[in-house]
Symmetry: none
Subunit: 207 residues, 4 copies
């Protein structure tokens, strides 16, 4: 699973990890503020704490930096969710727990997530496919939890739709923070979204 997606001319694997961590941290801060395109490689190098020459010892192109950021997010979210989800457990509580963990993750990584979704289009087709694949993996994890949690059987499409809704609601928390985080704490937000997810607007009889 440790695929050498981004080659480096440095041999010391431990150093690679360390330097790339610095890069991701610095790059996300910059991308958040100015976007991928308006950020120069020199700025990334400086924010990472080393020279432009050193930067290019650990990546091949500027795009690699963005890719590294994306990969970091997916790895983080995947780890987090795998840890949160007990595949043996069934029923609504397990779904609720999954949603809570996911939302918490999206809160932790909101900057990275915003950056990633804002800039995927800047990746090469290949890298975009790779990212899309990761996204689908995660959607499937959610679908599985949903399916296992619901008492009654639902159509595959409905389950996918619900998974997409939850997925997007997690991202919303970061993307629309200017609105949502003014009105809700993360707990409140999680609570109300779950409420509506399970209950709906409850007006059908009258409708």
């Amino acid at each position: 699973m440790v695929m050498k997606k981004v080659p480096s001319s440095i041999k010391d694997e431990r150093l690679i990890v360390k330097r790339r961590d610095q890069m991701i941290k610095g790059a996300v801060a910059l991308f958040k503020q100015k976007g991928f395109h308006k950020t120069t490689t020199r700025e990334i190098a400086k924010a990472s704490g080393f020279s432009i020459g050193t930067l290019y010892e650990y990546i091949r192109t500027k795009e690699d930096v963005l890719f590294l950021v994306c990969d970091y997010i997916y790895e983080g979210v995947k780890d987090g969710m795998e840890q949160a989800i007990d595949t043996n457990e069934k029923g609504i509580p397990s779904l609720k727990k999954a949603i809570q963990s996911y939302f918490r993750l999206m809160d932790d990584m909101q900057d990275e997530v915003v950056v990633m979704y804002q800039e995927v289009k800047s990746l090469s087709k290949d890298a975009q496919d790779y990212v899309l694949k990761k996204e689908m993996d995660m959607l499937q994890m959610l679908e599985l939890v949903i399916e296992n949690s619901l008492p009654t059987s639902n159509s595959k499409e409905d389950i996918q739709l619900i998974a997409n809704n939850i997925f997007v609601q997690g991202q919303m928390w970061g993307f629309r923070r200017w609105m949502l985080q003014k009105q809700f704490t993360l707990e409140q937000y999680t609570d109300r979204q779950m409420h509506f997810l399970f209950e709906g607007l409850q007006v059908t009889k009258e409708a």
Copy 2:
């Protein structure tokens, strides 16, 4: 409605409108395909059907093109919704009608919408504020419809949350088309989303 947001050195107002329409059309096609940054001004000019010199008679900077696109979208969506919403009408059906119209609009303009959200970061702070304001106006329109439609009174926060959800679900249709438009027609999508909006997952008793 006559906002002179982007100055032009051309005097003939009618011509400005015409040329800018050409520009928006051409630019959206390009931005969709390669993104704002990878699109050159010369490409925009060519796609618009005139020379680079002429392009710059109608805008000041490349960013102006992006702004024009954003403005065009919001104006389109706002007009569409204002037409679809009958403020006198009350009850669930009026909400349903609003959602349907909104989703249809987002289907029509999916390319533009995707382009816009992908590239807002490239706008100046001022332009971003202007765009944000438009977004809030539209959210408020939705909130109003929701409030007027529901039989029981709901907290302001809940209404805002629902409005955000609907808003984002409309955008999802375009953004996640690789997934959703494979499984659903627009009608099906609208139908199922409204179903879950009103009914929820209906599992509460067992939870």
Copy 3:
């Protein structure tokens, strides 16, 4: 003497003169402020009170405008001096009168003069030669007055040097106004310069 140095596609001679006067006035104001190169033809047209299209009915190139300015100055100075100089008159007073008139002219036209000398290099070689010729004509007028005024005969070179000095001192008044016009009125300046011209520093015995 009315040489068609700058052709125009307009037939009405009176109109040409009128329009070109407007042009010179407007152009000098702009050149003074921003220099020839940083002034655009559109700005010249606007400052002249007509459209860019009309501007080009009266000139062929932007350089023509500069040439027109130069020509205007020389014509003005030549007329002024011819009027001031009585070729019959001899002796120091006639020289003093010439200097006074010349300095007064340079005061009147200081903006034009500054502009001209700052920008001659922007003229074509041909135009520069034409301007140089005019300059030499004027120098010769001064030389003549000097020669006729001095009681004792002087070498041709000395007379030329004196003429150059006087010529340049007239221009100085405009070029170094930030210094000279703070310390002197035009009358004082003329008076002191003539004083030193005729008396020198008067320290020779001690030297």
Copy 4:
């Protein structure tokens, strides 16, 4: 003496000095020939012996090149004069020596001086002020020498005027070379100008 007026992205101070020397040399040659505006940055780079990218590592804008040239001239002239002037020495000979040195300097740097005065207008207001300040410093040096040299006391204004005259006569030598350098060698020119400076036209009794 170390004024960081023009920032560079290069760290090696010694290299900055070296490269900028190349630039100034190359730029003056070009400006002399075609003027500042008609010289392209690419030409400057080539004349300096490096690529356009390298040029911009040592300056921020094209204007910086002009500023560097101006600064170089003033520094040169100032150094030359400081060296030539013995502030302890008094009397006419010290003034004569100063004038001689100054004229010789202006002969050495005539190209640079002509370029500079032709193009100051292209500098930013700030840079123009800086240059003007340098000019006034040099004028004050001349004034000091004059005051110390003359046996009888003169009004401050007269001394300033004389300083200006000498200053301008030095520049004349380069600006009006088409006339002066045809009639005089530098030594002759210096000699005759000093003659008239000290003696005047000597015609007052008769006047």
